[in-house]
Amino acid sequence: MSPASADTPRLDFAGSPVNQSLSADDKIELYRKMVRIRRFEQASLKYYNAGKMGGFLHLYIGQESVAVGTLSLCGPNDHNITAYRCHAHALAVGMSMNECMAELFGKATGCSKGKGGSMHFFAPDKNYWGGHGIVAGQTPLGLGLGYGLKYKGLEGCALCYMGDGAVNQGAFHESLNIAALFEVPVVYIIENNGYSMGTSQKRSSAFRGCLAQRAEAYDMDWDLVDGSDLYQVRAKANIAMERARKQHKPTVLEITTYRYYGHSVADANAKKYRTPEEIENYKKNHDPISLWQRRLIEEGVLTEESAKEIDTAAKEEAAASVQFAEESPAPEVSEIMDDVYWETDNDTEASKIGRHFFND
């Protein structure tokens, strides 16, 4: 396989089978999903700044095509897991804005009952294994999801997302080695937005052409993907996912993208380590949502008017989720000890005699 590089002539991936099979409605749905993510996150930023949330808030704005494009390819046996920048993946797999916003507000109605927060959204019923806070800590878990699928004889794959900073953790390299060695159906997706906090990729990774190329050391397939092109994301991810499902072969995909905001909302220095021109250039020329919108309008699938309607609906949905979160009850203090041990939460001997798992 020959990877794309900056000087490869631009190919149009609209003609790839996985994109040809998209109906007009499917395409609009992809648009709607990206817009919903953006509007959800903008609403969350507003209320974070108003002091409604605790901890961190890592926004995905600018990267929407990655989560939406890859997750749109998932079938019933495909599973996924990501790091702390996890709101987009959550919404893309079909979690509701309400349960996500309520989680940010730390409310009992949140997807993790207020226990997880921004970095820890989960929906195992949607094959979504979360939001994980330790950089690269999810990479062996993604390996395990793939291993579990193969063990159970299911034809599926695991998608494991990470940032470009995560590729320097030992856990990632150990995962690649085992994935190749055991032929595990996992696709590692490096969402390369160019920065880990305030450190550019150039200052954090020794690399030749691109980060995904490291896969070669493990005799593994890899590819480089332009994240601003949704057709390309889907076309290339589909190849990797099929390789996993059909041949149990892992792949590393590096998808180039960009985050518009700081690393987290606390990171006010976003403009210090990136020039305003760089940020503006991405917003103007590479924004995955406007590019997709333009494409669909060109194709005659979408009109400016219906795009606006979709946007308005997403804004309203986000505002409603804020209201839902505001009105939801806070968790009870009595829930502190719940969910620590299965055994004490369920009707077992331990749950009856009490507290010997705990100190008091």
């Binding site: 949330m53 927060g117 820890h120 806070g133 906090m197 380590y273 806070a330 968790p331 502190i336 100190n359």
Partner: protein, 328 residues
């Protein structure tokens, strides 16, 4: 003479003074240089000292911490910032097998003069994996020294002692203390070094001893004030400062004086520093106790994200007062 300073600035002053004093001192970690530190502890140091002395590392805790340990064996004196002590997990092997054991395994041939520093605390609503408080964990590994300063003056003095120490010293700071203020001696009046292993009596009292470290010291002081005003109970507050070495004499002295003790410890109840201190007191000063030893710790569950609940998991002045009243 002394000046009022923020805790984070007191640590920075210590780092700056040690960088000046010893050219082998190097600061390393994620975002410590160009970004000025995730918590601004190292702010300005890269501008002043440049790339050789202030080093940004990739997110590779096992790699760069191990590198620091290796360099320290050659006489470099690295001060490694862990953006959160919670990330110790990624480098655990380096922290407990290499840093802690090399000196012993080599029969004393090799020293490991490294400092690991960063915040270790709950209370910031960042969820379970970012809220570990591992002082007790690391203190359980012989070969390591562990301290947890509560005030700017102690933060500065202990940091300087840690950097000059020839053993690995793990300094547990606290994000919620970085913005607190306190008096710190002026450098013009001499070198302010707080020796490791010396507790500090932060408040004298006669009826009960509150023994704490880190941010819990502030809670204990507030509780002591309430106990005096509302209950006419005179509480003494002993700040351990160092976890290992531990100032056993100071612990026993306060217990012998007041005969009652409540231990305050932000880490979980099961195991931990206060469990060890409690054990020492009952073994060494049992006859001086007029009441059972009590503890106020974080509850035995991972940290709850929601700010509505997380604070209830942690020690606070009210919980300390309530606990004191059960034995006073």
């Amino acid at each position: 003479m002394s000046r009022t300073m923020l805790y984070r600035h007191a640590i920075r002053e210590a780092l700056d003074e040690e960088l000046t004093r010893d050219e082998n001192v190097v600061i390393m970690g994620e975002e410590v240089a160009q970004y000025n530190g995730a918590y601004k502890v190292t702010e300005g140091l890269w501008d002043k000292w440049g790339d050789k002395r202030i080093v940004d590392t990739p997110i590779s805790e096992a790699g760069f911490i191990g590198m620091g340990i290796g360099a320290s064996m050659l006489g470099v004196r690295p001060v490694m910032e862990l953006m959160f002590w919670s990330f110790h997990s990624v480098a655990f092997d380096q922290l407990v097998n290499n840093a802690a054991c090399v000196r012993y395994m080599s029969g004393g041939l090799i020293n490991v003069p490294i400092v690991m520093r960063g915040p270790a605390n709950g209370g910031t609503n960042v969820g379970a994996t970012h809220s570990h408080i591992p002082e007790g964990l690391f203190a359980a590994f012989p070969g390591l020294k562990v301290c947890a300063p509560a005030t700017p003056a102690d933060a500065k003095g202990l940091m300087k002692a840690a950097i000059r120490d020839n053993d690995p010293v793990y300094v547990m700071e606290n994000t919620l203390l970085y913005g607190t203020e306190g008096e710190v001696p002026d450098p013009a009046d001499g070198d302010h070094v707080v020796p490791l292993g010396k507790a500090d009596l932060k408040r004298e009292g006669s009826d009960i001893s509150l023994i704490a470290h880190g941010r819990s010291v502030l809670h204990a002081l507030e509780a002591a004030e309430t106990l005096k005003n509302d209950h006419n109970i005179s509480a003494e507050v002993l700040d351990l400062r160092s976890i290992r070495p531990l100032d056993v004499e100071a612990i026993l002295a306060t217990v012998r004086k007041t005969n009652r003790v409540v231990l305050v410890d932000e880490s979980k109840g099961f195991g931990g520093v206060s469990a060890m201190v409690s054990h020492i007191i009952q073994e060494e000063a049992f006859d001086h106790l007029d009441a059972p030893i009590r503890r106020v710790t974080s509850v035995d569950a991972p940290a709850f994200y929601s700010k509505h609940v997380e604070n209830e998991q942690l020690p606070n002045p009210k919980r300390i007062v309530d606990k004191v009243l059960t034995i006073a």
